[in-house]
């Protein structure tokens, strides 16, 4: 059996932390949010362009650990082009996963999470949950902003 740490650093995560899908600044974003992890000073900025409650473009920049960077990369892959409703639903499911303390997920949820299910191991490390959620907090904020404009 893989150790807790090996479960934490699944290959998907290590790959995405190098892939950095969606790492770019957008021009004229409709919404953006800058978030900081106070423990380490890790930062990320998420920007969105929106048409009819749909994330037509999603870009991010930032510096951080493999967990936070991979989380942003997967977020981009899964949500660019998707509707607000889908983004909110996925975000909520991901937050739930992070609160699960590493318990097994229902198969349906696992399926919906796709690559995000690789983050299951993070939930066992309370100090790392913030890393995984940092980009998602920024996304929620950026979407809120885009909605209000």
């Amino acid at each position: 059996m893989a150790s807790a740490m090996e479960q934490l650093y699944q290959q998907v995560i290590l790959d995405h932390s190098r892939l950095r899908s969606g790492e770019r600044s957008l021009e004229h974003p409709h919404g953006e949010s800058f978030q900081v992890n106070p423990t380490c000073g890790d930062e990320c900025r998420v920007q969105v362009r929106v048409t009819e409650r749909r994330l037509t473009e999603l870009g991010w920049t930032g510096k951080g650990c493999s967990i936070s960077q991979a989380s942003l990369s997967v977020m981009h892959e899964m949500l660019e082009g998707e509707s607000f409703d889908d983004a909110e639903e996925l975000g909520e499911l991901f937050r739930e996963l992070m609160r699960s303390r590493g318990a097994e997920l229902e198969p349906a949820d696992q399926q919906q999470l796709e690559d995000l299910s690789a983050f299951t191991g993070v939930a066992k490390y309370p100090a790392r949950i913030k890393c995984a959620l940092l980009g998602w907090m920024a996304l929620r904020d950026a979407m809120l902003q885009a909605q209000h404009d």
Binding site: V36, P38, T39, G41, Y125, P126, A127, R128
Partner: protein, 421 residues
């Protein structure tokens, strides 16, 4: 009369003797409470297994320390009827009250941006306190007034040591803050909070409750009381010294600029400037009293196991015994209500012709530990025309035998100084 509690065996200190073998009768719980073994074990257990810096680092012990610290916060929030993020750890109630006063000062000096507008004082704004305050809930407001040009006003005390509810008109349009005690540590009188909060709200003033005595002896629910802020101390609630808390309504904590600044409460720091974390972290600068929050958590569990209603009923009976016993000594005058209605088991008194220090000394010689002096409430004493008193106060571990010993002690005082009838 229901059964009194009988838990003194849980408190190691109460097993000791004083003054050449006399049984200690500890009647100074109003000043600070003794701690049950469960609290000492919890604190030590934390230090032996989980001590580390919280909210930092990725190692296992640090994770456990953080979990212990934050779960103490959750327990405290539940205990006093607040939300998790509405509890700010402080070293004692005094710091908690100063935190609020300094938030007003810092906002008035321009910090905190537009969000902090509600905390900016203008010359002529009024701060209302009462004549029954502990110095901790009086001096910080005097200082704030002196620094901002605000005016301090107060609700007077009645002859029997309650707030004079006929005089709530002191709270008016200009009032910005109403700071008042939930229970006087001299007279024991419990404040009827509702009409004060109602009048403060009607005038757009914020309310700050000194819950030091109440949170330790009564069930309290800050949300139900509609308060903006409340302050209290762990050491009065069977917890360790060195830990207290501020309750602040979430929306208000959000708006407040910080008080003490430093590590663990910042977001981005450059040499030039700093942005701050949201509450409660914004108000918890530097390494906190982590082991003490764990001890307090155990104290809250201990109190909850007993039940605050039951504790209050227990203490009501002791109040009755104390007042009854004292009434049998004609040279003694109680400073405070002489009936048990809305009253804690805190009884301050004068002995005719004997100075409180001398009263306390003769009681001490019999193993009776009481408090003498002004109990950090000089104006309250002045309202009774005295400058000091002797005070007996009871707690969860106090029994009927303690009260009996105390009354016998009072008779010995009378004899010793020859002030008998």
């Amino acid at each position: 009369m229901s059964e009194l509690l009988d838990v003194s065996g849980d408190f190691p200190l109460l097993g000791r003797t004083v003054r050449e073998g006399k049984r200690l009768v500890y009647l100074d719980t109003g000043a600070t409470a003794q701690k049950p073994t469960a609290v000492l074990d919890a604190e030590r257990g934390f230090n032996e297994r989980h001590n580390a810096a919280v909210h930092r680092g990725a190692h296992q012990v640090a994770e456990e320390a953080t979990e212990a610290y934050e779960s103490a916060r959750a327990a405290l929030a539940q205990f006093v009827g607040a939300d998790f993020g509405e509890i700010v750890w402080t070293k004692n109630a005094t710091e908690a009250l100063n935190l609020v006063a300094y938030a007003f000062l810092n906002a008035t000096l321009g910090l905190g941006g537009a969000e902090a507008n509600g905390f900016r004082l203008r010359e002529g704004d009024e701060i209302v306190v009462t004549e029954l305050e502990h110095h901790a809930n009086l001096v910080p407001w005097q200082q704030l007034a002196a620094k901002t040009g605000a005016v301090l006003r107060w609700i007077p005390a009645t002859a029997d040591g309650r707030l004079d509810t006929e005089q709530l008109d002191v709270i008016g349009e200009k009032t910005r803050i109403v700071a008042f005690t939930h229970a006087s540590n001299v007279t024991g009188a419990i404040t009827d909070v509702a009409p004060i909060v109602e009048r403060a709200k009607r005038n757009g003033a914020m309310t700050v409750l000194d819950a030091c005595q109440s949170a330790a002896h009564l069930p309290v629910d800050f949300h139900a009381l509609g308060l903006d802020f409340a302050a209290f101390s762990g050491h009065k609630m069977l917890g360790p010294t060195g830990v207290g808390a501020l309750y602040g309504r979430a929306a208000l904590l959000e708006q407040m600029p910080p008080f003490i600044t430093g590590g663990s409460m910042v977001e981005i720091v450059t040499m030039e400037e700093t942005t701050f974390l949201p509450p409660p972290q914004r108000f918890e600068a530097g390494t906190q009293m982590v082991a003490q929050t764990v001890g307090l958590h155990a104290a809250l569990d201990y109190l909850s196991d007993i039940g605050m209603e039951r504790l209050a009923a227990h203490e009501d009976q002791l109040t009755a015994l104390l007042l009854e016993g004292i009434a049998s000594v004609p040279q003694v005058r109680v400073l405070g209500p002489t009936d048990t209605r809305d009253r804690l088991a805190v009884v301050a008194f004068e002995v005719d012709g004997v100075h409180p220090h001398d009263v306390g000394q003769v009681l001490d010689d019999q193993g009776l530990a009481v408090r003498v002096g002004h109990h950090c409430a000089q104006p309250t004493h002045r309202s009774f025309g005295v400058h000091a008193s002797t005070r007996a106060s009871a707690g969860v571990y106090t029994g009927a035998a303690d009260v009996e010993a105390f009354i016998a002690g009072l008779h010995r005082v009378i004899d010793f100084f020859g002030v008998g009838a």
